[in-house]
């Protein structure tokens, strides 16, 4: 099921992001990458890893056999008469993989505009990454797509932001969620790990998203899960009191009267759902953030994600 105005909502969200003022705000943000196995040099400092050939001095260590004499600090030897080897912070390329859930569930409730929010968030993170000269690609995940995903090429320059925007604008929420299968297909030929940000409503069985996120972790990605949550989803009393609910992806129906008892049951189910997602992410070292679409994109980018450690 695809809302008719999903495209216009996405365009509006992207238009709001790709404004000079907002981009200037994004200039202050940087991705926090905990590890990267990319061998290509880049501008992203790696916290740990092999001695890099960077220019930023990290520390000194005593000389050991086999150390590269080119890093011997002769000045220190002259003053201290000790052989000390300079170590540098490694600066590697940190490719950013933005996995955007393009299933039909992202389009409903229409008032929540979860898909537009996801596109805006993806564009914002892509800008942050491109500004740091890291490659960025966007992967839309849906069972309705060929091979359950469609991936953009890597964008490597900030000038490519318009190409990224055009790619995002072509996306439509449709079909059922293909988080695990689509992600697996998208990473099949991707050897070097990077940063993976998954933007989804995660309204799928926990074992499915756990498998998907676990796969990313296993591939040594720095993984972040952004759970988009709308006001209607958080408080369905604003949507109906008594209705025939239709699953946007499967078409299944359910007759619900939203009385106090049922509302409590729903909210308990939502709390459990979010709690399980957070618990899993916490155990797997995955950044997890619940992005309330009603609170706006800025709160997610400048408050929630920095708080969770994905941005700084």
């Amino acid at each position: 099921m695809e809302p008719a105005d999903s495209a216009s909502d996405g365009a509006a969200a992207l238009a709001a992001v790709l404004t000079p003022g907002f981009l200037r705000k994004l200039d202050r943000l940087h991705l926090t990458v905990r590890r990267s196995l990319s061998t290509r040099p880049g501008n992203t400092p790696m916290p740990r890893g092999a001695q890099g050939s960077g220019i930023e001095l990290e520390s000194h260590k005593s000389y050991g056999a086999g150390d590269d004499l080119r890093h011997l600090d002769w000045n220190a030897y002259g003053r201290l008469d000790q052989l000390l080897i300079k170590t540098f912070r490694a600066e590697r390329e940190a490719p950013l993989h933005l996995f955007v859930d393009a299933s039909a569930s992202m389009a409903v409730p229409a008032g929540d505009d979860k898909f537009g929010f996801a596109l805006g968030l993806a564009a914002s993170l892509a800008y942050v990454s491109l500004r740091n000269h890291d490659p960025v690609r966007v992967v839309a995940l849906s069972e309705a797509l060929p091979h359950r995903h469609v991936a953009s090429p890597f964008f490597r320059h900030r000038q490519a932001l318009h190409g990224l925007r055009d790619f995002l604008l072509r996306l439509r929420p449709q079909g059922t969620t293909a988080l695990a299968t689509g992600m697996h297909a998208a990473l099949r030929e991707q050897r070097s790990p990077g940063v993976a940000v998954v933007v989804s409503d995660f309204l799928i069985p926990p074992e499915v998203y756990e498998a998907a996120l676990g796969d990313l972790v296993a591939r040594r990605f720095t993984v972040a899960a952004v759970r988009t949550l709308g006001a209607g989803e958080r408080d369905p009393t604003t949507l109906f009191r008594r209705a025939q609910l239709v699953d946007a992806e499967t078409g299944r129906q359910r007759f619900i009267t939203l009385n106090q008892e049922n509302l409590a049951r729903y909210q308990q189910a939502l709390t459990e759902h979010l709690g399980r997602l957070k618990t899993f992410c916490s155990r797997g070292g995955i950044v997890c953030s619940v992005a309330d679409t009603a609170s706006g994109l800025e709160r997610t980018l400048f408050h929630d994600l920095p708080e969770q450690g994905l941005l700084h």
């Binding site: 309204l203 209705a243 609910l245 299944r252 619900i256």
Partner: protein, 621 residues
């Protein structure tokens, strides 16, 4: 089984509404949600809403709705004979003359009929209705029937008569029918008589719908033509009495006509509740006398009256008598009365078939062996006669009693109580009625009697008329009685009968049957051969004819009680049935046994509602 309110079955369309309610559950607003994952924990309403499958709730609701609809349709059961258990109503329609009084544009009878029709319209289809007219005599216009169209037709065909009525008799008549009925029967009376004026014993058994209030009526209460049997029209005079029954002064004109010629026209003013008499003389000839009031009142039936002035017809009297002073008196009488022609023969010369037929034969002190085929008067019959056996002789007897109803005695009351010198005690024959009577120490006996025997009028005077000196001024009453008796014995076949409406009058003699009657309204009917009387109920001239012979009956509506149309009060209907509500007026509902069925159905519906609620609590969240 039937339904008293079959239109209520249209409510069965609510079955569709019930189904729509179920489908509405199915058709209710669809709301797309991202996933039902979180809603799995929420209890769904019920499976019955997924698609239309009649469940126990639906069946219960269907039964409840059915009970309510059938209850509204008011079902009733038919008996084994096929009749419905409905109520019975007896409509008593007052058709007396006062109901002809106009109240505005309509007459009281029209209002009563409209009220009855309205009442009929509110009855159940199963109700049986009898229609009784309460005119001069109660008459059942229609027996109990459920054919309300026939009832409406009977009401439409009913008409008031120009005669007084006795509503109490009609109520007693219908009360018998009510008591004989095996189902609840209501008597509803449509009349202008207030309920409070009905007999107390019957008033509580009926519902009275009273109509009419006006008292505006001037009436001719009498038209009396005075003309002796042997007087011609010049000696005739008429007396008209006009009564004002209203409570205000009345004005108008009285026009008296002979045939179509106006004899007298007088204007008058009569005070409230007063009367005035008019004496009319000098009629130009014999014929029909009509008196007509020209007034603007409510009741027209009593504004006209008819009378009759006889033409002079000579009477041939044959006197069979031995020599007697009475013969001299009779000859003197014949000389004074031109219309009286007397012929005297001796008993020996009398023959039963005389050469010249006589109108009346007078036998003085003689009784023939074979009575003649004409009307006869026997005076002082001999002691040994075979026709009137003489029991004894009496002397100096007085007239102690008389029959004032007889034509010979109507103008004479009382008779002078002069003693009669000689009389014979005779046993009157059974076909006769006593005119004058006296008594001895032993017995009461007739001094005169008369009657009809073998188609002839026969009279007998048992006292010695010769001794009483017929023409003596001391015995003027005896003389007048004799003349009246002679007039009764010689009726003028050509005279018109003047009667009062409602009275039963014997038919005048006709040579052949049947007799056709044309009433004043122009309706012609044929009397049954066995019918020997006529009861005019419409004021005016009745024309009787048979085989070329014509007679006239002039019927007058003289009834001061009926003409007094004013009513002291107009009382609202008081429904005698305890369950009837006066507030309902003509549309007052009636409680019948079938209402119990309705109550039972409502009770079942209520019980099922409770059951449905309990089931719904279990089945539906």
């Amino acid at each position: 089984m039937g339904f008293a309110e079959p239109l209520a079955l249209l409510f069965t369309a609510l079955y569709g509404v019930l189904v729509v309610f179920y489908l509405w559950e199915r058709w209710r607003r669809q709301l797309p949600v991202p996933s039902l994952l979180l809603w799995e924990a929420v209890r769904e309403d019920t499976l019955r809403a997924r698609r239309f499958r009649p469940d126990v709730l639906f069946i219960l609701q269907l039964i409840i709705l059915t009970c309510l609809i059938i209850g509204l349709a008011r079902p009733y059961l038919r008996s084994d004979q096929g009749g419905a258990v409905g109520g019975r109503h007896i409509f008593v329609l007052d058709t007396s003359a006062s109901m002809e009084a106009r109240e505005g544009r309509r007459s009281r009878f029209d209002e009563a009929r409209a009220a009855a029709s309205a009442r009929l319209a509110h009855l159940d289809a199963a109700d049986e209705v009898m229609v009784v007219s309460a005119g001069h005599a109660p008459e059942m216009l229609l027996n109990f029937t459920r054919d309300h169209d026939a009832v409406a037709q009977a009401l439409a065909q009913a008409a008031p008569v120009d005669a007084g009525g006795d509503l109490a008799v009609a109520l007693a008549f219908v009360d018998g029918a009510r008591q004989r009925s095996d189902v609840p029967t209501e008597v509803e009376v449509f009349t202008d008589i207030p309920r409070s004026q009905l007999p107390a014993a019957l008033r509580d058994q009926v519902t009275v719908f009273q109509v009419g209030e006006s008292d505006d009526n001037l009436a001719i209460e009498a038209l009396q033509v005075f003309q002796g049997r042997f007087q011609d029209y010049r000696a005739a005079r008429a007396y008209v009495l006009v009564q004002n029954f209203s409570h205000r002064e009345g004005h108008g004109f009285l026009t008296v006509r002979l045939q179509e010629q106006v004899v007298n026209r007088s204007g008058f003013t009569i005070a409230a509740r007063d009367s005035k008499g008019f004496l009319i003389n000098d009629f130009p000839g014999p014929g029909r006398v009509s008196a007509q009031l020209e007034v603007s009142d409510a009741l027209a039936a009593d504004d006209a009256a008819l009378g009759w002035i006889r033409p002079v017809t000579p009477v041939h009297v044959l006197v069979v008598s031995p020599k007697s002073p009475l013969l001299d008196d009779l000859r003197a009488l014949a000389t004074a009365v031109p219309a009286l022609q007397i012929e005297v023969v001796s008993p020996e010369a009398f023959s039963a078939a005389p050469a010249r037929p006589a109108d009346v034969v007078i036998f003085h002190r003689v009784v023939p062996e074979r009575p003649p085929p004409v009307n006869a008067l026997y005076i002082y019959p001999p002691a040994d006669n075979a026709l009137f056996p003489v029991l004894a002789e009496a002397a100096n007897v007085e007239v102690l009693d008389w029959n004032p109803r007889h034509a010979a005695l109507q103008p004479l009351r009382p008779l002078a109580a002069l003693p009669l010198q000689h009389a014979r005690v005779v046993t009157p024959p059974p076909w006769s009625e006593t005119l004058l009577s006296s008594r001895t120490l032993e017995r009461e006996f007739p001094l005169a009697f008369a009657g009809e025997h073998d188609g002839r009028r026969v009279a007998c005077i048992t006292f010695d008329l010769e001794a009483e000196r017929l023409l003596s001024s001391d015995n003027i009453n005896v003389f007048l009685f004799f003349l009246n008796l002679l007039g009764w014995l010689s009726p003028d076949a050509g005279d018109a009968m003047v009667v009062r409406t409602g009275d039963v009058q014997p038919l005048p003699p006709f040579p052949a049957q049947p007799v056709q009657v044309q009433n004043p309204r122009g309706d012609v009917s044929t009397l049954a051969p066995s019918q020997q009387s006529i009861q005019p109920l419409v004021a005016g001239e009745y024309r009787l004819s048979s085989d070329g012979t014509r007679r006239t009956v002039l019927a007058n509506f003289f009834d001061p009680v009926e003409s007094d149309i004013g009513r002291a009060s107009k009382e609202p209907p008081v429904f005698h049935h305890a369950a009837l509500t006066p507030a309902g007026g003509l549309a007052a509902p009636r409680v019948t046994p079938r209402d119990d069925y309705r109550c039972w159905l409502y009770a079942v519906a209520a019980a099922l509602c409770v059951l449905e609620w309990i089931v719904a609590r279990r089945v539906v969240r």
